[in-house]
C-alpha cells in the first residue's frame, strides 16, 4: 500500500513522562490537606458519624476506579479493538491499586456497627428496643431478623475478604500475563489473545456477581428494609461511567508527551468519547427504570426509599443530580466537535467524576435517620467533600506510581501497527 511510508514509529522509550511525578506530588498534597480538613471538621462537629458516612462515598469511588478499571480491562481483552490497546496499561495501573482499596474497606468493616442498623441491633430484642428508643423504624425489625443469615458482621467480613481475594487473583493474572505477553515473540500473539480472552470472559461474570454482592453489603444494606434487583448493575454501569472518564483524562493528559503523543489519534479519542456517551445513556436508563418500576408499583415496602430521597428538601439534590449526572454530560457528549477536542473532552470527563460523587451523596446520606426526608446543613455535610477528595487523591497518587512502574504502551498486539498509521489511511 502506498500509504505505508507515512506510518509513524513508536518512540524507543515507552515509560511514563516525568510530569507524572508532579501529578503524584500534587495529589499527595491535596490528600494531606483534605485529610486534615476532614479531621478538623469531625472534631468541630464533635461527631465522627458523617466522617464514616462520607468514607463510604470515598470507598465506592476508589473501588469503582480500581475494580471498574479491572472490569474494563477484561472487556477490552474480550472485545479487542484499538481503543483497548490504547487503554490497556492505564487500566492495568488502575487495577493494581487494589491494596489501597482493601485498606479503605478494612476501615469500613471496622466501623460496621456504627454505620449499619443490622449490625448495631442484630437481634430481635435489640431491634425492638431500638424502635422504642426511636432509633429504628418499626418495619426494620422484621427485615433485620429475616435478613440476618446474610446481613451479619461475620458474613460481612468473610464475604468481603473472599471477594477481595478473587479480585486480587484476577488483577494478578491480568497484570502478570500482560508482561509475559509483551516479552514473548510476535508469532505467539494469537495464543495470547485467546488466553487473555478466556481469562477475561469468565472473569467478567465472576466480577459482576461478586461486585453485586459487595454493593448490597456496603451501600444497599444501609437501609435494611429496602431492596432492588437492578442495584448491582446500576453500580457496574456507574463504574464504567467513572472509569471511562478517568481513562479519558489519563490518555489525554499523557498525550502532552511521548509515548502517548504518538499513539493517541483523534479517531480513537472520538471512539472513547462515544463509548463514554453510551455509558452516560445506560446509566440514566437503569436509574430511571428502577425509579419508574418502584413508582408505578407504589408499594409501601419500596417507595419509602424514594420518599426519603425526594421529600424534605432532597428534591433539590435529585434535580441537580439529574442535571449533573445525565443531562450535562449527555448534551455535551452529543457534540462531535467536543469529542474530538482534547481540552473540552477532558473538562467533560472531570465533570462526570464530580457528578458521580454527587450521585453517591444522594444515595448514601438519606439512609440515615437524621437525614431521611430532611436535607439540612451541618458541618458534617462538608465531610462529603473532604473525605472523598482526600481518599481519591491518595488513590491518584497510588495510581501515578503504578503508571510509572511499566511501559505505557503494550507492544505485542496486532492493533499497534494500525494505531501508528495516519488517520485517513483506512483503505
Amino acid at each position: 500500500m502506498t500509504h505505508a511510508p507515512h506510518a509513524k514509529t513508536l518512540p524507543a522509550d515507552l515509560s511514563a513522562p516525568a510530569f507524572v511525578n508532579t501529578w503524584r506530588a500534587r495529589a499527595l498534597m491535596v490528600a494531606v490537606l483534605f485529610s486534615v480538613t476532614a479531621v478538623v471538621l469531625a472534631i468541630a462537629e464533635k461527631s465522627w458519624d458523617h466522617f464514616f458516612r462520607a468514607w463510604i462515598v470515598g470507598l465506592m469511588l476508589t473501588f469503582g476506579f480500581t475494580c471498574g478499571g479491572m472490569a474494563l480491562l477484561m472487556v477490552q481483552h474480550v472485545s479487542g479493538g484499538k481503543w483497548g490497546l490504547l487503554l490497556r496499561r492505564p487500566l492495568e495501573a488502575m487495577s493494581r491499586c487494589l491494596p489501597l482499596v482493601f485498606a479503605y474497606w478494612v476501615v469500613l468493616a471496622a466501623m460496621v456497627k456504627s454505620l449499619y442498623q443490622w449490625a448495631a441491633f442484630p437481634t430481635e430484642e435489640l431491634a425492638k428496643a431500638a424502635v422504642v428508643a426511636g432509633k429504628l423504624p418499626e418495619a426494620a425489625v422484621h427485615a433485620i431478623v429475616w435478613k440476618a443469615p446474610m446481613l451479619n458482621v461475620q458474613a460481612f467480613w468473610g464475604s468481603g475478604i473472599l471477594c477481595f481475594a478473587i479480585w486480587g487473583f484476577y488483577t494478578w493474572r491480568l497484570n502478570s500475563l500482560s508482561l509475559q505477553r509483551d516479552a514473548d515473540k510476535q508469532g505467539n500473539t494469537p495464543i495470547w489473545i485467546k488466553r487473555m480472552e478466556n481469562l477475561s470472559g469468565f472473569g467478567l461474570v465472576v466480577y459482576a456477581l461478586t461486585m453485586t454482592a459487595m454493593v448490597i453489603y456496603w451501600v444497599m444494606s444501609l437501609d435494611v428494609t429496602w431492596s432492588s434487583s437492578v442495584y448491582g448493575l446500576l453500580f457496574l454501569v456507574g463504574q464504567g461511567y467513572q472509569t471511562l472518564a478517568l481513562s479519558l483524562i489519563t490518555v489525554i493528559s499523557l498525550s502532552k508527551a511521548e509515548p502517548f503523543k504518538t499513539v493517541l489519534r483523534t479517531t480513537e479519542q472520538h471512539d472513547l468519547g462515544k463509548f463514554t456517551f453510551a455509558f452516560v445513556m445506560l446509566n440514566i436508563y437503569l436509574a430511571f427504570s428502577q425509579f419508574l418500576i418502584i413508582w408505578s408499583g407504589n408499594q409501601p415496602e419500596e417507595i419509602h426509599w424514594y420518599m426519603n430521597r425526594f421529600n424534605g428538601g432532597w428534591a433539590i439534590i435529585i434535580t441537580l443530580d439529574f442535571l449533573f449526572h445525565w443531562l450535562i454530560p449527555f448534551s455535551l457528549l452529543l457534540s462531535r466537535d467536543i469529542k474530538r477536542n482534547k481540552k473540552r473532552l477532558i473538562r467533560v470527563a472531570q465533570w462526570m467524576i464530580f457528578a458521580k460523587a454527587f450521585d453517591l451523596f444522594w444515595l448514601v446520606e438519606p439512609n440515615f435517620n437524621d437525614a431521611a426526608r430532611n436535607l439540612h446543613f451541618s458541618l458534617g455535610i462538608l465531610e462529603y467533600i473532604a473525605v472523598p477528595v482526600a481518599m481519591v487523591s491518595l488513590w491518584v497518587a497510588f495510581y501515578c506510581t503504578q503508571l510509572k512502574s511499566r511501559p505505557l504502551v503494550a507492544t505485542n498486539d496486532p492493533h499497534l501497527a494500525e494505531i501508528l498509521e495516519p488517520e485517513h489511511a483506512h483503505a
Binding site: T2, H3, F291, L334, S335, P422, H424, A425, A427
Partner: protein, 181 residues
Amino acid sequence: MPEPREGLYGVIAEFETPGELVRAAKAAHDAGWRRMDCYTPYPVEEAAEAIGFHTNKVPLLTLVGGIMGLVAMFSLETWVSTLAYPLNIGGRPTYSWPAFIIPTYEWTILFAGLSAAFGMIALNGLPSLYHPLFNAPNFRSGALDDKFFLCLEALDPKFDVAETKAYLESFKPNSVVEVEY
C-alpha cells in the same frame, strides 16, 4: 434541480487510494479551489474535511427532529391523560409524568433517527435523476468499487481546461477526464 446546461461540467481525476485523494484535495483547496468535490465508494471523512466541509446540517436537523418528537409525544400524553380522557389509575394524579417518559423517549429517538436519515438524503440533493459525472467513463466503472475521485468544476473562477488538467495530472492520478454536461 439545476437547469440543463451545455458544455463542460469539470475535470475529474481518478486515484487509487484514499490517502492520495485526500492529499490532492487538500492541496487544491489550499491553492484556492472552491467549486470542487470528492467522490469515494465509502465515506472518507478526511476527504470532506480536506475540501473545507467542517460542519454539515445533519446534526442540527437531528436535534430539531428529536425535540419535535419529544414535545409532540409529551404533549399528546398530557392532553390525553388530563383533558381528553382522564382515568383514575391506582389513585395516581392524572398528570403522572414519570409514566410519560418512556413513550416520549421512544418518539425522540424515532423522530431524531428519521430526521437524520431523510435530512441527509435531502441535503445530498437526492433523489436526483441526472448527474453529469456519470458521463465520465472512469467514474462509471470505479466510483462504486475501489477508486477515489476528485472533480474540479468549471464554475470555479480558477477553471481553465488545459491548466486544470495539467494541475490534476501533477498529482499522478490513474487518469484525468473532462466531464460533459
